[in-house]
């Protein structure tokens, strides 16, 4: 199927969901009010690391409006939070998985660690009462840096993780890499800090949990990206409940970016407490609280080397990384700096051998997990900074060194466990260079120089592995869950169609994109299609939305269910039209007897299936409602080239992003407008990382210094330019939509493009090494140091 021959598929249809969002009638978790509503507030640790000697809750329990106060001691029968991915170390031992209690048990390990839950008649009363709780802490020394945590004498955070080590893991042929380096004409080297980020979806996390005594069942509204996974982890691993007794609803969700994938302590505590207190309990995270409790992202320290022959052909890559896990293992923390990182180090290049070694450490910081891109931005940053450095060292143009090393034969098996099915990296590089007017750059640089400004151009030719994932591959790599997706197509008696998808939309526009697919396949009006997501009570199953998987995996599950609907429709049509099933064609919304003008509209066949007066009941069940589960056979591999142009004022160190161009290959595109919007947002987050954002902990006290929007620099409208977006299409070869995924590309490609541009701009003034974010202070100091 091509992208443009199926009705609305390929069109920039305006979004169905926008009408409610634009009129204030979206329903986010904090908007939900339950019967017998009460409100929760979590008292959190003010210390990075401390023993709890005693907690006195008596005054809080007596405070006005208080329903209940719970501490870790009260949560009997509640297990700790699980990690969903087992990493086996180079020592062949499983990673260290110290307990992750729901409420602190005897010790707190980061600022923000939840210590007690207060439930009261109002949010104000819950907060007031929490102030009356007295906690006697014995403050311990803390460590926040992932490298420092591994040093001898560092404060020991968990009994179960000696030396604060979670694991050392490796991928690739070390001996072959060492041999290739020994023969190299040139070795490019970079030392990189991939700065820690705080996701900051604008809707803070929120929970509304209730318990129904008649049904002995819980209902949990939660701002979450994968309600079935939330339910599975909570019931099977933490609360020991049957899944049938917990309904998880993730209604409208105001952004996720990875931070709402996880099973959080607050979710579990509130579900548990709703039964204890026999009240519905709502908790909405305050922003200051989100900064110290939402899983953070990135935080790698890396030394990387690229061996080249005399022509700049890559011979081998060696990457040694330390990754910060934070104080506890969040749901998917362990796989981000390993499975989703080292496997991407081939990038778009034919580097024949690669070795990557990763040590993950525990620190007294908020847990770190997936944030938009998750491992792949970190990998791209390593690869593209190395490639840039090699080109500079060897005096080869940036586009030329990339072209000399591009993969051009597919399928291509990389030395780091993946097989790329398809791609055309020259096409996206060529187009990006045209769009960015690289030819005119020298003149623009000269013009900047006249004004005393430094202009630079940076490239990032990224690749990502999306459409997570083939379950068998994920399982072999340590995943403790499958990664398929479910889709159900319910054709209603009068022809309207309800789609139930296990994917979850928190801004991606699935209600529109999925409806376009269905309208295209069934030949019906989009207005007659409703897409339902985010409710374990209504949807067969789901693995949710992350890793740019919704269209390629979730969309394909819907296509498979549609195939079943059409197959059954043909049987019904054969009976109604008194023809052989083999002669029935389905096209343009009609079942037709081939070679005749005898046909029935889709809606007529749907009605016949539900009013089976004239129906082959002996061979066919009535009804038209089909479900499919789809497990992909491979990852998808979106790729592209991003080009960034910056101008730096050497007197102030201020970096301005003058232009940003993204040319991406996402495979077939269903809705170009939505795809372009995803690229805009991803690039903004990538530029945020490179230009502005940085999570900073005080190394002595372990306090979060960037704990509000006044201290953590979120990209604002006047910080970034309008970007140019282009696409090239090589369809994915292994899903029927030919789709690859687009949600993370911007955040993956942009940081390296911008930082390469900054390095290019500063090359002439002798600055060789600058880390993200390229803040004015940091750039100015680098310029001054180079002068000295």
């Amino acid at each position: 199927m091509g992208a443009n021959d199926m009705g609305p598929v390929g069109q920039s249809i305006r979004r169905k969901e926008d009408s409610r969002f634009l009129q204030g009638s979206g329903q986010y978790t904090d908007d939900v009010v339950m019967p017998r509503q009460s409100y929760g507030f979590f008292l959190r640790s003010p210390h990075a690391h401390a023993k709890i000697r005693k907690i006195d809750t008596a005054a809080a329990k007596a405070a006005p409006g208080v329903v209940a106060v719970y501490t870790g001691d009260d949560l009997t029968g509640v297990n700790g939070l699980p990690c969903g991915w087992l990493i086996t170390g180079t020592d062949s031992k499983p990673m260290n998985e110290p307990p992750h209690p729901v409420l602190a048990q005897g010790k707190v390990r980061h600022v923000g660690d939840p210590v007690a839950l207060v439930v009261a008649e109002s949010a104000h009363e819950a907060k007031d009462a929490a102030e009356a709780i007295s906690v006697d802490y014995d403050v311990l020394p803390s460590v926040v840096n992932c490298v420092d945590a591994l040093k001898a004498g560092a404060p020991q955070i968990h009994d179960g993780a000696p030396g604060n080590k979670c694991y050392t893991w490796a991928l690739g042929d070390k001996a072959a890499v060492d041999a290739a380096f020994a023969k190299a004409a040139h070795v490019a080297k970079v030392d990189i800090v991939n700065n820690r980020l705080i996701p900051n979806a604008i809707e803070p996390r929120a929970v509304n949990a209730s318990y129904n005594r008649a049904e002995q069942a819980y209902t949990l509204y939660v701002s979450n990206q994968n309600p079935h996974v939330e339910r599975l982890l909570m019931t099977a691993f933490v609360l020991g409940l049957p899944e049938t007794k917990v309904r998880v609803i993730a209604p409208d969700v105001g952004g996720g970016f990875g931070s709402k994938i996880y099973l959080y302590a607050e979710d579990v505590a509130l579900v548990w407490a709703s039964k204890q207190a026999n009240r519905s309990i709502k908790w909405t995270c305050e922003r200051g609280e989100a900064f110290v409790s939402d899983a953070h992202g990135r935080d790698h320290v890396t030394h990387a080397e690229l061996a080249c022959d005399k022509d700049g052909k890559f011979l081998a890559m060696r990457v040694i990384t330390t990754a910060n896990m934070g104080a506890y293992l969040s749901t998917f923390a362990s796989c981000i700096p390993t499975i989703l990182y080292a496997t991407l180090l081939a990038g778009q290049y034919t580097t024949p051998v690669i070795y990557c070694e990763v040590t993950a450490s525990f620190t007294n910081t908020v847990p770190v997990d997936a944030y938009r891109g998750a491992g792949r931005p970190e990998a791209t940053y390593v690869v593209e900074r190395l490639v840039h450095q090699a080109a500079v060292d060897m005096n080869i143009p940036q586009d030329e060194i990339r072209r000399r090393n591009f993969i051009r034969k597919f399928p291509y098996a990389t030395p780091v466990a993946l097989t790329y099915d398809t791609g055309n990296y020259d096409a996206t590089l060529d187009e990006a260079m045209k769009m960015a007017d690289v030819a005119g750059f020298a003149a623009r640089k000269a013009e900047s120089a006249k004004r005393g400004k430094l202009r630079g151009l940076g490239y990032s030719s990224y690749i990502e592995a999306c459409g997570l994932a083939p379950s068998n591959v994920a399982g072999a790599l340590g995943a403790r869950a499958g990664l398929f997706e479910a889709g159900q197509v319910r054709v209603n008696p009068t022809g309207g169609v309800t789609i139930f998808t296990g994917s979850h939309s928190h801004g991606q526009g699935h209600e529109t994109t999925f409806a376009q697919i269905v309208a295209g396949r069934l030949g019906i009006d989009m207005a007659n299609i409703e897409v339902v997501h985010g409710d374990t009570g209504r949807i067969p199953f789901g693995m949710g939305t992350y890793g740019s998987r919704s269209l390629s995996v979730g969309g394909t599950a819907i296509v498979k269910a549609l195939d079943k609907v059409i197959a059954k429709g043909r049987k019904v049509a054969a009976h109604v039209l008194e023809a052989a099933e083999a002669d029935i064609e389905f096209k343009d919304g009609k079942f037709t007897v081939a070679g005749t003008d005898r046909s029935k509209a889709f809606a007529e066949i749907a009605l016949a299936a539900y009013v089976p007066h004239n129906y082959p009941l002996d061979t066919l069940e009535p009804g038209l409602d089909e479900t499919a589960f789809y497990d992909p056979t491979n990852f998808t591999y979106p790729a592209g080239t991003h080009i960034c142009e910056v101008e730096i004022d050497p007197d102030t160190g201020l970096t301005q992003v003058l232009a940003f161009t993204a040319c991406d290959d996402f495979g077939n595109i269903i809705n170009p407008m939505i795809v372009e919007g995803q690229v805009h947002g991803g690039v903004a987050q990538g530029l945020g990382q490179a230009l502005l954002e940085s999570c900073v902990y005080d190394p002595d006290s372990g306090q979060l210094l960037s704990g509000s929007y006044m201290d953590y620099a979120m990209p604002r409208a006047d910080d970034i330019p309008s970007i140019k977006v282009g696409t090239k299409v090589t369809p994915c070869t292994h899903n029927p939509l030919g789709a690859k995924g687009c949600g993370e590309a911007g955040a993956i490609g942009a940081p390296a493009a911008m930082m390469n541009a900054v390095h290019d701009a500063l090359l002439g003034v002798g600055v060789k090494d600058i880390q993200m974010p390229a803040s004015p202070h940091r750039v100015w100091r680098a310029i001054q140091s180079a002068k000295a």
Binding site: R14, I202, G254, F257, G681, M714
Partner: protein, 157 residues
């Protein structure tokens, strides 16, 4: 202590008794069930709670309900026509794909109305400067800027 209020919200007169520390946004969301006005931070930085008070854009998390006594408040719920026709600014956000998750959107639209009232012919640079008080994590602002420009042009007709 409670405070007695009387004000106009989306053209309707309302009276209420509120706890004196009640923020305007809490009053709108919890007592009037106008949940289109959102809370995204606690430092007046994100702008998701922006409403119009006496025609001026105000962050309703930074104002006590008591301060609006006697005033006129307009929220996102009060913009569309009675027959459901979107206000030109709302329509422009839809047309230009100026929203993704929708959470910052009501605040963005209300800020945009204030912006257009003061600068009906704002160019991209001006619009970007003026939207500095509203955070969006999804769109990269590009389509929001386009929407504000398109909405302003439609409002001028």
């Amino acid at each position: 202590m409670s405070v007695q209020l009387s004000l106009t919200v989306n053209g309707k007169a309302v009276k209420a008794d509120v706890d004196e520390r009640t923020l305007l946004v809490e009053y709108l969301r919890n007592q009037l069930a106008l949940t289109g006005t959102h809370v995204g931070c606690d430092t007046g930085q994100c702008g998701a709670c922006t409403v119009l008070v006496d025609g001026r854009a105000v962050k309703s998390c930074n104002m006590l309900a008591a301060q609006v006594n006697g005033g006129k408040v307009q929220t996102i719920e009060g913009l569309a026509a009675a027959d459901g026709t979107l206000h030109p600014m709302q329509a422009a956000f839809k047309e230009c794909h100026g929203l993704q998750c929708g959470f910052c959107t009501p605040g963005m639209v209300m800020s945009a109305l204030d912006l257009v009232a003061r600068h009906p012919n704002a160019d991209e640079k001006k619009i970007r400067e003026e939207l500095e008080g509203n955070l969006c994590r999804c769109t990269g602002y590009q389509n929001i800027v386009r929407a504000v420009k398109t909405g302003a042009a439609a409002m001028a007709k």
